[in-house]
Structures are given as C-alpha cells and as structure tokens.
C-alpha cells in the first residue's frame, strides 16, 4: 500500500463526509439537529445524474444536484419552521421521502428500479493526471480529484468566517444559543433557522453531487449508505466548531480508507468494516468525557 494512494483515498472518502458534517454543523449552531442530511444528499445525487444525462452537461448536472438538495431543504424548513413539525420527525420524513421518491422516479420514468446508469455521462472537472507530479507525495494524491474536493477544502474556512466574522453568522449563532434573548435583541430567529437549513441543503447537495458525479457517473437507490449520519456524528464530536467537525469527518474518512486497505491482509472483513463506526463511537465518548471533565467543579 502506497502512501499516495492512501492519501488520495482519504481525500476522496472524506469529502462527502466533511460536507455532510458541515451541513449538520451549520444547523446545529441554529439549534436544529438535522437528520435530513442523508436524504438531501440522495436527492442531490439523483438530480445530478438525471439532469446531467439529459443535458449532457456536467456544469448543469452539478447545479441541478445542488438545486435538488436545496429544494429538499426548503421542504424541510417549510415543514418545521412554517408548520411547526418536530425537526427529528420531519428530518426522518425527508429521508424516507428521498429514498422512496428517487426509487419511484426510477421506476416510473426510467423503468429501471435497479438504478440509473446513463450510457455516456459528462465528466466533471478533475485535476489532470501528471500535472502535479513534481510535488512529492501530496501531488499524486491530489491528481484526479474533482473540483468538489477543492470546494470542500474552501468550505471549512468559509463556514468559520461566516459563523464568527460576519454579523449574519453572529445572529445565527445567537438564535441557536438562546432563542428568546435573540428575539428580544431584534433578531428574526425563524429567518436565521431557515437560512441555516438552506445552507445545510447547499452543503449536502455538494456531498451528494460529489458521490454521484466524481467517479461513478450513475445513481443507485440508497447509494449514500449512511454518510449523512456519519457526518452528523462528526458534528456532534466536533461540538459544532468548523475545524473540529471537519477534523472528525476526515478522521472517519481516514479510518474508512485504512480499512479498505487492511482488507488485503488476512483480517476478518467484519472487523475492518467496523473501524469507522468504532472510531465514531470512541470519538463521541471522548467528546462527552472532555465536556464532563471541563465542567467538573474544582476541588475545595
């Protein structure tokens, strides 16, 4: 196993997880536990492939993926903020709707419930092979990565700047910290929450689009395979801080990529496949323990 390929695989596997984690983080800061990331990703993956194949344009497919997820997030915010549905209930509803709706569309319009695989699909922009080989180790790992990987790298500081260095970000955090105080200070809390959910849709859309358009170029029912929930776990571990959250997601991506490579050795597959989830449980336990220690009153 070469270090370049491990690094490339970590980047590739972490990208959807980091995006999903940021999507869950931005709503968590507005005091919304967003379990709908998974469903938004699935909608994005489907619309990216369906529209990309229809128009034969990677550019339009990319935007269609984002639009699909943002549409799902608007449904989510309408249900919760306008009509007062519980966030968890509505989120699970979005997930079910996304899984069932995409399957329905496959069956109804494409007559192939097994998946949507266009014969030819336009390629999204990737770093050309050999263009960065003069940089040792990191160069070959970055070659062949899609534009969305770079957008993800930019999304982490962008989220940080938005939350901590803009007035809107401060309002959003205030609305999440203490709704009543924020309201009495003149902040439109519902609008801030709606904004958080929409940004969450945008990020989840990037995640789903990356999954479908990066290498695979097809859509399968349930192809997100729980990545939205791993992202949610990363957010909880990172306590809603952009850098910690992204770090946790990369950690999960790293264990996933490492696990893939360990399968070549004679280690039982079940154990290896368990790794990212064990890492998630350990990380969450550690995070709780840290808070526990910090909040303990000092000894007299």
């Amino acid at each position: 196993m070469s270090i370049e390929s491990l690094l490339a695989s970590v980047l590739e596997q972490s990208t959807p997880l980091v995006l999903a984690a940021l999507a869950a983080m931005i709503t968590l800061r507005a005091n919304i536990l967003n379990v709908a990331v998974e469903g938004m990703m699935l909608v994005a993956a489907f619309s990216a492939i369906a529209v990309g194949a229809l128009t034969d344009s990677a550019f339009i497919g990319f935007w269609a993926g984002l639009a699909g997820a943002i549409f799902a997030s608007l449904v989510f915010s309408t249900m919760t903020l306008r009509f007062g549905a519980g966030f968890i209930v509505a989120g699970l509803g979005i997930n079910l709707l996304a899984a069932g709706g995409t399957l329905f569309a496959l069956e109804r319009y494409y007559n192939s419930p097994g998946g949507l695989r266009p014969i030819a699909f336009p390629d999204i922009w990737h770093v050309p092979e050999g263009s960065l080989s003069f940089i040792p180790v990191i160069g070959p790992a970055i070659e062949g990565q899609s534009i969305i990987v770079f957008l993800t790298v930019l999304a982490v500081p962008a989220c940080w700047v938005f939350l901590y260095r803009t007035p809107t970000g401060a309002y959003l955090r205030a609305a999440g910290e203490d709704e009543h105080a924020a309201r009495s200070a003149g902040i439109d809390v519902v609008r801030m929450k709606a904004l958080a959910v929409t940004i969450s849709g945008l990020l989840a859309g990037l995640a789903g689009t990356q999954l479908a358009m990066d290498k695979l170029h097809f859509f399968l029912p349930d192809m997100t395979a729980g990545r939205g929930f791993i992202g949610l776990a990363a957010t909880l571990f990172g306590a809603g801080q952009p850098w910690m959250t992204a770090g946790a997601a990369v950690l999960f991506g790293f264990f996933g990529a490492l696990g893939d490579r360990l399968q070549a050795f004679d280690i039982p597959a079940q154990f290896v496949l368990m790794l990212p989830y064990v890492a998630a449980i350990l990380a969450l336990a550690l995070a709780r323990w840290r808070i526990h220690v910090r909040n303990k009153p000092s000894k007299l």
Partner: protein
Amino acid sequence: MHFRTLTSTVAALAATFAVLSGPTMAQEEFSAVYVMSDNLGDMGFNDNAATGFKRAEEEGVKTRLLQASPTDPQLWRQNLEAVSNSGDWDVIFTGPNMHDNLAAVAPQHPDQKYVFFDDQLDEPNVLSIKYAQNEGSYLAGALAAIAATDKEDFPLTDGEPKIAVVAGMDLPVIQDFILGFKQGAATIEPDIQIQVIFIGNFNDAQKAYDLTNTAIENGANVVYNVAGPAGLGILKAAADSDKYAIGVDSDQNGIHPDNVLASMLKQIGNSIYTSIGQIKDGTAEFGTLKTFGLEDDGVALVYNDALVPDSVKAKIDEAKAKVVDGEIEVDSAF
C-alpha cells in the same frame, strides 16, 4: 393471428378476475402461470425468467405472467390465491419474496402443482428450484486465472497470477460464489493469489469503487463482481484502471465492453423451460429441491466475444466438462 391476440386479451382479463369466466382455451393444452412479485423490464432476474416462458409458449404451452408492483405484497398474494382457486392451470410458478405466501396457499390446494424457484419450500406439491452459483463461479474463476496469466490474449494484464473478488456481504450464498471462484482459479493456476474483499452492503457503489481500486493497486488483474447493485462501482473502477472484470446476475458485458470479460448468470429462463418439459412428461419430482447447475444450463458464463478468444473458451469448456461429468466436485458453502 387476430384470434390469438383476442384470446390472450380475454385470458388476461380472466386471470385478473380470478378466472371467474372459466377456461377460455381448450383444456388438453398444457398451461403454466407465473405469479410475480415484481415487474418485467429489470434486464435481469425477471426478464430472464420471461424468456423461459416464451420458449415454452412457442412449443404450444399456454403461459401467463402476472406482474405486480414490488411494493404491493397484497397483490402478490391475491394473484396467487386467484390462480390457485381457479384450478385452470396445470402448474403455478412463483419466485422470490413469495415464501410466506406460498407456504400459506400451497397446503390448501394439495392437487395443484407449484414450482418455486430461487427459494425452497418443503411441501409435497411444490417443486423447489435453486441454482448452483458455485459451479458458475468455478468457470468465472478459471477464466479470471487464465486472463491474469495470459498476457498475449489479454493485453491489459501484467501476467502476475493475482485476481480478486469484491463481494457485498459475508453471507452463505455469497460464500458459495467465492468458494467456487477460488476453486476454479486454483485448477488453472495452483499458486494464484486471490484477494477476497467485502463492501459490507449491496448498495454503496462508491465504497465498491474504492475497494476495487485498492485490489487493483495490490496487483489484481481481474476482479469478480459479487455485489449486486453496488457491483456497477466495481465494473467502473476496473474500467477506469484499465483492468478486467467479470460481471454477475445479468449480462453486464456491454456496460464496459473493453473491460468486462464475461458475466456469470443464473439461467432462470432455462430452468423454467426445462422444468415445464419435465412436468409435462411427468418426470418432475414434486416435494423435492432441484438444483440447476452447469449440467442442465441453470448457470452459465456468458462471454464478451470481443475479449475472450476461442482457445480460452475451449479451455473453460474443458473445465466445465469435468464438473458436468462429476470428475470435479465444486466446493459449496451449503
């Protein structure tokens, strides 16, 4: 011609209304009905089954396929009860997802004959049919071993005896595939290195893609797809790294025509056609389980003719002959 279409339409209506209108065709004709839990058009299991009924129909058997939405289990049961109550059909076929329904309905109609394929039910009036995926995988293993070591006929390989199988989950039926594959590869090349890799589910195509890339980085020249829907990711990874793959379940040769050497198929249509013949002749043993393997074309390797030369096919036919003769017993997980 017009008369035939008309009778088909009438028969279709009759089947829908529980055949209340009574027999619409002469009764000396042998008749078979397939109660489905799915629709046609999946380019896989169901369409494959339909080919068997079509072949039987060409020989004068009256057939009817009762499609039903996969999300409407009520309708599967209704269809099964309707055709059982009518008593108009010599044999009723049914398949996946129907175990509980058939277990409830079959004992109530002891004189009605049933064929249950791709599953098993022990009732005296039910003939169960299963498929020897280990024997089909044996041939896939032989082909993979030849392709990995024969650089002249297979230019994308590096000649090293290294192959891989990327599977969905560690289940008995999947192990049956893997055992056959390993044994087939070892008969061609005793020191062959086979990586066995599991995705952990059947729909994470991105993980399948990454795992296949890892297997190829570790030297695999041919990758066998045993991963259901996620297998599309395996084939894509093999094509992107310019190595070979072997497909499964349906004819996947056309998906990446330069890389997919062959597909290992359960020939459900063949097994249905054969069993209709046997029931007609009265040689079918109801109450038993029949396994269709290489001998009776229940499983087969469908080649991509552009990639696999005739000399290689001849070698694999030799291996097949040994299994059919009983000279080689293929390992099974069951």
